[in-house]
Amino acid sequence: MTVALSGKDIASKLEERFPGSVVESSQACVLIKPDSLLEVAAFLKDTPELNFDYFNYVTAVDYFQYFEIIYQLTSLEHNHSLVFKARCYDRENPAVPSVVELWQGADFQEREIYDLMGIRFEGHPNLKRIFLWEGFQGYPLRKDFL
């Protein structure tokens, strides 16, 4: 049975290692600051007892005041999983670091989020529209797109 790790335990580990990176945590997930996303992700992947090597998905939700980007990771070795999130409060030019260097599976999914929501991923090698054509006006999955 895949154990969903408690957000609070992970948050305390992250606070020791990277103070100030955790915004809040609950039983289900950890919310971290976008600036410390890369170092937190690298820590989660490389620490032997966590060893999150399998990238389930990345997705984004448009709550009107902010965009929330949700990641889920699984460790195939220890059979546990974790959900962590980042929030982006900028509506005009939202930008978040990209985790493609760590998990190649994030490649197409981040392009999809850029295409449909407009969130830029800094450090992505090939960030361009994937489903819609160049020159399409607007970002369809945003709540203000008709």
Partner: protein, 374 residues
């Protein structure tokens, strides 16, 4: 990029060939811009979106129950699995318990769907290998029998809309179980027929052994799941690792490959069909009686929250991420697209192979464009 300099006086240049969206193979509207040096593939650039119908946006305009027909159209070859994944996600979000009979029916239907899907996957893989339509039509003959059973249960041949939140929509009719029994008795002989014709076939061995090798590290790093991951030798199946529904009650093996080439992917799918037959046998024996749907309103309003549920779909890990804000429509519905993520490793797998191998490698991953593009 490095082009080997040759000792002959012949100077070659790379050129770009467009494998357009209209493709003479059954995988759908997928486009690749390939950079070739003669016949050897140097690089590919996949282009998607020719079937992007905006299902995630449409989810926000439909009710939770009204979205089930749209989930059929995602991976349209195995629609029952899509329905199951979505219903599990809503049940997790709303905390609904499913009656026993419905759980068993779901398992039987999901495993039959796995067999039907693998029949098409193997058939079209062999079509790409050059056996043209002969194995494809053989496998279609079996698929027609399975589709007959699905028609008995749901009334539809391809896009079933059968599962509901809290169970299934109708009970199995009386003639279903005898017909299923007859199919289960005949199926091993058909699978034996395919093995006899194809397992040691020289042409298949020459074309598919050692072609398009995927290593375990690349597969795990790219998030690849399903038969493609198992062909690399990693024994990981979500039915065993994170059992959903009642899969922990059944006894089945997980076939794995050896080196992650096209031949291993083909063998893994054939073996999985045999294992699915085992699961169906066990499920039929223990099928209890009772209601087939929990007492759930049609216009269901799950409490505020979010949930992610995944299943081992025939192609890999299919998951639905749902966010609800206490209204009759989902606030956000995201589909974890198995086929799109399985395509991440395609570039590494095809570098250095010839154009004909590119088609086989692409066919052995087994994607459906409805799921890639949504």
């Amino acid at each position: 990029m490095a082009i080997e300099t040759r000792e002959m006086a012949l100077k070659t240049e790379p050129f770009v060939l467009n494998f357009g969206p209209v493709h003479p193979s059954t995988h759908g509207v997928y486009r690749m811009r390939t950079t070739l040096d003669g016949e050897v593939v140097l690089d590919i650039e996949p282009v998607f979106g020719y079937l992007h119908r905006g299902i995630e946006k449409l989810a926000e305009q439909r009710t939770f129950t009204g979205f089930i027909p749209l989930t059929d159209r995602l991976d349209y070859i195995s629609s029952m699995s899509n329905n199951l994944a979505y219903c599990l996600a809503v049940e997790k979000l709303a905390g609904i318990a499913v009656p026993e009979r419905a759980e068993y029916i779901r398992v039987i239907i999901a495993e039959m769907q796995r067999i039907a899907n693998h029949l098409i996957a193997v058939g079209s893989f062999l079509n790409d290998c050059g056996a043209y339509f002969t194995p494809f039509l053989y496998m279609f003959r079996e698929r027609e029998r399975i589709v007959d059973l699905f028609e008995m249960v749901s009334g539809q041949r391809l896009l079933y809309n059968y599962m509901r939140i809290g169970g299934v929509s109708q009970d199995l009719p009386d003639e279903f179980l005898p017909a299923l029994r007859k199919l289960l008795d005949l199926m091993p002989s058909y699978i034996g027929e395919y093995e006899r014709l194809l397992k040691d076939n020289e042409i298949l061995q020459a074309r598919a052994r050692g072609v398009g090798i995927l290593t375990q590290e690349t597969a795990v790093n790219c998030g690849i799941s399903g038969p493609v991951l198992r062909s690399t030798g990693y024994r990981w199946d979500w039915r065993r690792a994170d059992p959903y529904s009642i899969y922990d009650r059944f006894d089945f093996d997980i076939p794995v490959g050896v080196q992650g080439d096209c031949y291993d992917r083909f063998r893994v799918r054939i073996e999985e069909m045999t294992q699915s037959l085992r699961i169906i046998e066990q499920a039929i024996k223990d099928l209890p009686s009772g209601p087939v749907q929990a007492d759930v309103p049609h216009l269901i309003r799950p409490p505020v929250g979010e949930a992610y549920a995944h299943i081992e779909a025939p192609k890999g890990e299919l998951g639905f991420y749902l966010v609800s804000d206490d209204s009759v429509a989902p606030y956000r519905c995201h589909v974890r697209p198995t086929s799109l993520i399985n395509l991440t490793a395609l570039r590494e797998m095809v570098r250095g192979w010839k154009v004909a191998d590119l088609i086989i490698i692409f066919g052995s991953i087994d994607i459906t464009l409805g799921e890639v593009d949504r």
